[in-house]
């Protein structure tokens, strides 16, 4: 029974992290059509800034988190205004824009990663913060994991309310359904798209801040998280926040079961799941029909 609980709750906590990692990419692709391959690099930078501020100045990761949220939001907004809005202008179709922005993000990934390597080097780093164990029905988990789960559920809740209750939330949902029509309805599409990319960057950065408290981090870790995020959003449906929450939790539990049975095959299982889902139901579990 304790083993089962360990697997289940461990999976749930892992899933919370995965959901958080994926949520940003889900908004960026779902609304803005930017399949941001550099998503994991934003996360990495968030994690390393948190590590740096904690080890050098002793600033609590939870304070860095708020700081990172603002900085990344601003930076993401600027990036969309400068790079992706230009790409939108020169691309003749949505498909061409998706291809162009994918390649631009791939270039961006090199830029961000290599700047980080120049600043921080490539060796493993880590610190432990709030790692004291918490007993849940006989199974032990670090307090920082519970905080991460709470944060990711909280973020999901806030975003849900934001998307359903506010004017800008409505504008974003309208844009994700039909950009052209939304534009005709008088929505400032450029602003909304930049807003979405900025939110994505914010989510990636804060996810990085939380991850730095739990795992060892390094400047070349971005791609792993990008791949996880890709799998989760395909699982949950591109562009659906609730979908990526659900997808994250499912992936967490699947990962936790597989790593209990055969640890070496966890990633293989993820990719199998990913590819089967792409073939059987490319719109994802919560996605709209094509």
């Amino acid at each position: 029974m304790v083993t089962f609980l360990n697997i289940f709750i461990g999976g749930l906590l892992m899933g919370g992290i995965y959901a958080l990692v994926a949520a940003g990419l889900s908004i960026q692709y779902g609304v803005g059509r930017v399949l941001n391959i550099a998503h994991g690099e934003f996360l990495m930078v968030g994690a390393l800034i948190t590590w740096y501020l904690f080890t050098i100045y002793g600033i609590s990761p939870l304070i860095s988190l708020i700081l990172i949220a603002f900085v990344f939001f601003f930076f993401g907004f600027l990036l969309d205004r400068s790079l992706f809005s230009r790409l939108r202008n020169i691309s003749p179709s949505v498909a061409a824009f998706e291809a162009n922005s994918l390649m631009a993000c791939f270039g961006l990934q090199f830029v961000i990663q290599n700047i980080a390597i120049v600043i921080w080097g490539a060796e493993l780093k880590g610190f432990s913060y709030m790692a004291s164990p918490v007993n849940i029905l006989g199974a032990l988990f670090g307090a920082n994991r519970l905080i991460t789960l709470a944060y990711s559920l909280g973020i999901a809740g806030i975003f849900y309310l934001f998307l359903t209750k506010t004017r800008y939330g409505k504008a974003i949902r309208a844009a994700s359904q039909d950009i052209f029509a939304a534009n005709l309805m008088g929505i400032n599409i450029k602003f909304v798209l930049s807003l979405c990319f900025a939110f994505g960057a914010l989510l990636a950065g804060t996810a990085g801040a939380l991850i730095s408290m739990m795992y060892s981090i390094h400047t070349t870790m971005g791609m792993e998280y990008t791949v996880i995020a890709l799998i989760v959003i395909v699982l949950g449906g591109l562009g659906s926040i609730t979908g990526s929450m659900l997808g994250g939790l499912i992936l967490g539990i699947v990962g936790s079961i597989v790593s209990y049975l055969e640890p070496g095959l966890t990633l293989v299982a993820y990719y199998m799941l990913f590819m089967i889902l792409l073939l059987v139901r490319p719109t994802g579990l919560m996605g709209r029909g094509s």
Binding site: L83, I90, M103, F110, G264, V268
Partner: protein, 304 residues
């Protein structure tokens, strides 16, 4: 003298020069040119399928890695040409599998599927090698620079000639019509699925053969070296850099890229990936038609 004759003569002279190069060129020039030929094969084969149809395949490194691994497993046991053939065949069948299950996926979904396929192959092989065979890396047969050079020259030449032939044939036209409107081309009687899959398989088998030959340059390979996702993205970048609309675009892109890489890795080894990232973003945002686009514009203004 017409334009076609001049260009044929030019190609002939270049080829003659390249064939004789090992007799007077430095060893370094052979290594550099072999690298250029490798990237030419990777880029031209990518453009062969993805250019006209508009599908974005990120599985180049799967085929390249399959070739590399073939060389690692059998290069000591069988003659070289047979290894190349086996590598090409394995890539052919890998592409067949991807093609059959995934070519109904459109746009970004196909890109993600092929990307996932490479990672799946990589991680499965990593697990298999550490847990079943108990090896972490393999040694590959080493060949002389000259052998690698001639093999790559032949491969690049065959790839280019084949692509040129394909582009001008009715199959090339059919591929282009798929890129423009898949449903319409199906209605005019093109067997789109068969044509897409076959082209994908043939283009991939060139990549597999290329992997076999280039593996001999590395002497030691492991799954992470063989299935490096970089080899999926770099050819696309070279195609964009050169311009994918004409056949000489990707070739030009590969040459410029390899030469730049050669200079930058020696001059600024710590910053060269950073530089590439910036170059990539720059080319995509400001030169969407690549080098070919610039040349075309110059020619047009001259004529007018």
């Amino acid at each position: 003298m017409n334009f076609k004759l001049i260009s044929l003569a030019l190609i002939g002279v270049t080829l003659f020069f390249l064939v004789l190069l090992p007799f007077f060129g430095s060893p370094y020039s052979l290594v550099l040119l072999s690298n250029i030929f490798m990237y030419v094969v990777l880029t031209v084969t990518w453009v062969m399928f993805c250019g006209p149809t508009g599908y974005i395949s990120l599985a180049t490194s799967a085929f390249f890695g399959a070739g590399i691994y073939t060389a690692a497993v059998i290069s000591f046991k069988v003659p070289l040409l047979l290894t190349v053939l086996v590598g090409a065949l394995i890539s052919f069948f890998l592409a067949l599998i991807i093609g059959i299950v995934s070519l109904r996926l459109k746009g970004i979904y196909f890109a993600m599927f092929t990307f996932g396929f490479v990672e799946l192959l990589l991680h499965f092989l990593l697990w298999y090698e550490t847990n079943i065979t108990g090896t972490t890396g393999r040694v590959v047969l080493t060949l002389s620079n000259q052998t690698v050079y001639y093999m790559m020259l032949a491969l690049a030449f065959v790839t280019i000639v084949f692509t040129q032939y394909l582009n001008n044939s009715r199959y090339g036209m059919a591929l282009k019509s798929i890129g423009e409107n898949e449903m319409a081309s199906e209605h005019i009687g093109i067997d789109t699925a068969k044509l897409k899959i076959l082209t994908y398989c043939v283009s991939s088998s060139f990549v597999g053969a290329c992997g076999v030959v280039m593996a001999t340059r590395w002497t030691y390979v492991d799954p992470k070296i063989a299935f490096n996702p970089l080899y999926s993205f770099i050819p696309i970048f070279m195609a964009i850099l050169g311009g994918a609309r004409k056949l000489y675009g990707p070739i030009l892109g590969a040459i410029v890229f390899t030469y730049l890489q050669e200079i930058l890795t020696t001059r600024i080894p710590y910053y060269y990936m950073l530089f590439f990232g910036l170059l990539m973003v720059f080319v995509i945002t400001f030169l969407p038609e690549g080098i070919v686009g610039i040349i075309d514009r110059r020619l047009k203004t001259k004529i007018n």
